[in-house]
């Protein structure tokens, strides 16, 4: 009697175990260490620790979904927001994890993880990065810009700026920081802090469109600031003359951040197409840059490779599954497309 029951039990356990054993753990391990030509930084799902760094090698056509994980045996963390290469190092800014991962641009091997955290280990939310003469400048959502010595990888100073600073850029040897204030929506910020790069202090604060979030510069000394505005107001473009630090104009502009290449800036329109902006004439073209009929579900970021003239557009699709990146030649014809991670927000090119 007892044995019969035990047999039943054991049989059932065996079934359960055999089912457990038959799942397939698919892991892709590349044969040899690839070198990347192109990185796409994927923010990941909202709040989740699944930011990834997709890499692509032009020659071998090898696409690696998370090159950072592969190189370091650990993930980037939560909401990676910006990536840039400066000198021989690549910097990956991870918002919720409160880190800047400094890595070798060719191998993505970690050089140092720089923490931007409070005493209780909560993140100060690093957002974006820019460089000038050996220093990296990182906006922190707690209303500061951190100064990081790129040689020693130590933080040398925090410069107080406006609320929830977003992107930042250098023009005419000055640093321009957009203060978004988006976390207090609808009571948003609307300023740009101008930082003197010798004294590392804010020397002037300009009023721009409401809730600014992006900044770009051209070779003529103009600084372009994109603002979301507060609904139902329309998005705005503010142009600052960096020679005089005066706002030249604030206009309604139904398009996103500029990807600058020479006299042309590429941007995503509110209709999800790609248009160009003439930086010399300060005028938007009315025609779609894409000439082969390619369309996007949710165009997310546009970047140009200044060496080749190619234009890259990422598509976030439904914002919670894998996206795509499309490469176009300078005539707007699609060259190829690649699968990225979730919310592909930033792209960098490795010159080797």
């Amino acid at each position: 009697m007892k044995s019969i029951k035990l047999q039943n039990l054991l049989l059932a356990c065996a079934v359960a175990l055999s089912l457990t054993a038959c799942h397939k753990d698919k892991k892709v391990v590349p044969e040899d260490k690839p070198t990347a030509d192109l990185y796409v930084l994927n923010q990941g799902n909202l709040g989740l620790p699944n930011s990834t760094l997709t890499s692509y090698n032009y020659t071998t056509k090898l696409l690696t979904p998370d090159f950072f994980l592969l190189a370091n045996g650990k993930g980037l963390g939560n909401t990676a927001n910006d990536v840039k290469i400066y000198g021989a190092k690549m910097y990956i800014v991870v918002d919720k994890s409160g880190t800047v991962e400094v890595v070798n641009p060719k191998t993505a091997k970690s050089i140092k993880q720089v923490l931007f955290q409070n005493a209780d280990k909560s993140s100060r939310e690093p957002r974006s990065i820019a460089f000038y003469k050996g220093n990296a400048f990182i906006t922190l959502y707690d209303n500061n810009v951190a100064v990081l010595d790129t040689a020693t990888l130590t933080i040398t100073k925090y410069i107080p700026v406006g609320r929830n600073p977003e992107q930042l850029a250098v023009s005419n040897d000055k640093l321009y920081v957009v203060n978004g204030g988006g976390l207090s929506y609808p009571d948003v910020d609307k300023t740009v802090s101008i930082i003197n790069l010798s004294s590392l202090t804010v020397t002037k604060t300009l009023t721009v469109g409401l809730n600014p979030y992006a900044i770009s510069v051209d070779s003529y000394g103009d600084v372009f600031v994109h603002s979301y505005n507060v609904y139902p107001g329309s998005p705005q473009l503010t142009i600052i003359d960096s020679k005089t630090d005066v706002v030249k104009s604030i206009t309604e502009f139904a398009g996103g951040p500029f990807a600058v290449n020479g006299d042309i800036a590429y941007y995503i329109t509110s209709d999800g197409t790609i248009n160009t902006y003439d930086l010399k004439e300060l005028k938007a073209s009315s025609s779609n840059f894409i000439t082969d009929g390619t369309t996007f579900t949710a165009a997310y970021a546009v970047v140009t490779n200044t060496l080749t003239g190619e234009v890259f557009v990422t598509d976030a699709k439904d914002y919670k599954s894998n996206g795509l990146i499309y490469a176009f030649d300078k005539n707007g014809k699609k060259e190829y497309s690649l699968v990225t991670g979730i919310n592909p927000g930033s792209v960098v090119f490795v010159n080797r």
Binding site: N78, S184, S321
Partner: protein, 677 residues
């Protein structure tokens, strides 16, 4: 990227809300419970097996149930644990004692399962999902899961309105001539710093009047260790901010003239403060989010079955819920987000059934519900929703055949104080159920059903941060089921065997889906998605005869599910399995009792899943197998019945997650001491 971040907060909040954070209870009163106890001759089509164990019912649509006597067999603490073994069920468990736990039946999502508490739906107009972790089991008599709907005609119209129904029935007063009062005192404690004293008082005042009062307090720090390898640390981390502080009380006053004439009035109060640990954050501490819920409801029901073949059932309910969400780690001007939500729900239901002839019944049920929600979130709409449910149903018995059919009309009308109200909706949705018993005297039954359901948007989907009005359509599901059930008793060692198998096909159209867009101008809730679901549920249960005071039981539930995204051929995930849906799950429960001792073992196996629509290696979540064990000892001390138990969850200390980035606890223990006086 401000918006991205903002949305980020919003999505966390939304998760919270989904977590039942906002939940608003309503509760029960008196309906199918009462009905089930009725003494009328229509004793349903249930064949109860002579066993205390989850009997397999031979029903028109699949029913699975678990009674209070069996909660210990599965080492269950909350309602979510009690139904974890059910076939076709997947519990979305965010981990820990205060972690959100919702149920998805046959891959249709939590919003498509109604939770009836003593026959009345728990209505959450804000989120439409019930957090099962909020329900302790100490006052629960039985939990049943009905695919499609309960078969009884005399029930609320709302009971017909969902793709499946999870019915919770609470403990009733006993009308025992010898003893007119009883009290159970108990205390549970163990891992997670759990301290949980509870009390149950039953009193009968006369032949007709009885009272049940339950109360309990739960305190826990909610901490547990988990294994995290993806941040490179490869060590045990501690899950924090999962503390709970809960006070709960419920009770009912019952008047029972006969099983055909009864009345009750019930109340339920729930107050909790808890931390929301959120997803795991690598390298940094998560922000500290807190949630407070205060829920109250009062409900009453009256049933009368007249001798002239007419039966009436009335229910009424008022529910209020208050939710406060606080996040103190925000870099806005105030330094925190502090949101408050107050929801009121007024509900009335009337049902009448009539026996035209002895084997043909018809019924009509009509429900009205008014819900409103007030909140201090930005540009909130302050919606008031009027919902009307009207259903005509019939039940026809013809020898070997039984046919049931109903047609439900749902009418929904919203009004808002600011912004734009959603369009009014009206929809007719039918269900047809057929059973066939080929052999008289044998418990073999074939069944088939078709049911269509309509799910309107919740307040959160329609109005939460809807800076721009959201033009949403309702979500429709179609269910087709074909199955068989067989019960056999034996003369030998095996006492009985119950087996049932059902194959089903579900199609979901216009699935309402949250998408985290980056700007408020873009709708963040859309009708996105079609899903094709094919599955098989198999339920096997056996009992063994008592020999030398030993008695054994064994049950096995198996589920196969293929749930494919068929939204758009151009999607990267077209024809791939939807997230968090294992192809196979197997639940095994075995136990022995000998005199006062019981020892039980439970194991759940889940095959691998993907945490994302893309079925690619990066999103692969390995399968898991988790075991629980319990030991129960009943004895008499100072002439009072005493129960001692030890329960162990995750016996082999497996590291796993049901939801990615929400790690589950390792091995945990719970001790219970209970005395009946």
């Amino acid at each position: 990227m401000v918006k991205f971040l903002r949305v980020n907060f919003r999505s966390q909040l939304s998760l919270i809300k989904k977590s039942g954070l906002f939940l608003f209870f309503t509760l029960p009163i008196f309906t199918s419970n009462v009905v089930a106890q009725s003494d009328t001759t229509k004793k349903l089509d249930e064949v109860r097996v002579s066993s205390s164990l989850i009997p397999q019912r031979q029903s028109a649509t699949p029913i699975q149930s678990i009674t209070s006597a069996d909660f210990k067999r599965t080492s269950s603490y909350s309602l979510a644990d009690a139904i974890k073994n059910f076939s076709g069920v997947s519990i979305k468990d965010y981990g820990g004692i205060g972690g959100l736990k919702t149920v998805s039946v046959r891959s249709l999502g939590a919003n498509n399962t109604a939770v009836l508490y003593n026959g009345i739906q728990l209505n959450d107009a804000q989120n439409g999902q019930i957090d099962l972790s909020k329900f302790n089991l100490y006052n629960v008599e039985e939990v049943l899961l009905y695919n499609a709907q309960p078969a009884e005609l005399l029930q609320t119209a709302r009971a017909y309105a969902s793709a499946s129904v999870l019915a919770v029935k609470t403990i009733r007063p006993v009308y025992d001539s010898k003893k007119n009062s009883g009290m159970i005192l108990g205390i549970k404690g163990g891992s997670f710093g759990l301290f949980n004293p509870y009390l149950q008082w039953k009193q009968s005042f006369s032949k007709h009047w009885g009272l049940v009062i339950n109360s309990n307090v739960q305190q826990a720090d909610g901490r547990y260790k988990y294994h995290e390898s993806r941040d490179g640390s490869d060590t045990l981390a501690i899950r924090r901010n999962g503390d709970v502080h809960i006070q709960q009380a419920d009770g009912g006053l019952y008047w029972v003239k006969s099983d055909s004439n009864k009345f009750n009035i019930l109340f339920n109060f729930y107050n909790s403060k808890r931390g929301l640990p959120g997803p795991v954050v690598y390298y940094a501490a998560p922000t500290s989010q807190r949630l407070q819920n205060t829920d109250f409801f009062l409900q009453s029901g009256y049933l009368h079955r007249y001798k002239n073949s007419v039966s009436l059932l009335f229910n009424a309910k008022y529910a209020h819920s208050y939710v406060r969400y606080l996040d103190t780690g925000v870099y806005n001007t105030s330094g925190f987000i502090d949101e408050h939500y107050r929801q009121n729900d007024f509900y009335f239901s009337g049902a009448v059934s009539y026996d035209i002839v002895s084997n043909w019944k018809i019924s009509y049920s009509s429900d009205a519900d008014i819900s409103n929600l007030k909140s201090d979130v930005y540009q909130y709409a302050f919606p008031t929703r009027t919902s009307l449910f009207n259903v005509l149903a019939t039940d026809f018995n013809a020898g070997k055949w039984r046919l049931q059919a109903n047609l439900l009309n749902t009418y929904i009308h919203d009004e808002v104080k600011s912004g734009v109200a959603a369009d009014s909706r009206s929809a007719f949705t039918p269900a047809v159920i057929a059973t066939f018993k080929p052999f008289i005297g044998q418990n073999l039954l074939f069944r088939a059903y078709y049911k269509r359901t309509f799910r309107n948007t919740t307040f959160a989907e329609q109005y939460y941060y809807a800076v721009v009005p959201r033009p949403l359509r309702p979500e429709y599901t179609n269910q087709y089921n074909l199955g068989a059930a067989y019960t056999k008793s034996f003369a030998g060692i095996i006492d009985f065997v119950n087996i049932s198998a059902d194959a089903y096909y579900n199609h979901v159209k216009d699935k309402i889906s949250y998408i985290p867009t980056r700007s408020p101008e873009t709708p963040s809730v859309v009708n996105l998605g079609k899903v094709d679901i094919k599955g098989i549920d198999v339920v096997l249960k056996t009992g063994f005869k008592t020999i030398d005071n030993w008695k054994g039981v064994l049950s096995v539930n198996y589920t196969y599910q293929q749930a494919l995204d068929v939204t758009n051929r151009t999607d990267l995930y077209y024809l791939e399995q939807i997230p968090y849906t294992p192809k196979q799950t197997l639940a095994l429960n075995a136990g022995f009792t000998r005199k006062q001792f019981g020892i039980y073992y439970n194991e759940i196996f889940s095959s691998s899943r993907y945490q994302n629509s893309n079925n690619v290696p990066e999103y692969y979540l390995p399968g898991y197998s988790v075991s629980d064990a319990s030991l129960v000892y009943n004895f008499i001390a100072v002439s009072k019945p005493v129960m001692l138990s030890v329960e162990v969850n995750n016996l082999f200390n497996k590291s796993y997650a049901v939801i990615n980035s929400y790690p589950m606890p390792g091995r945990s223990y719970r001790l219970t001491f209970q005395i009946t006086i």
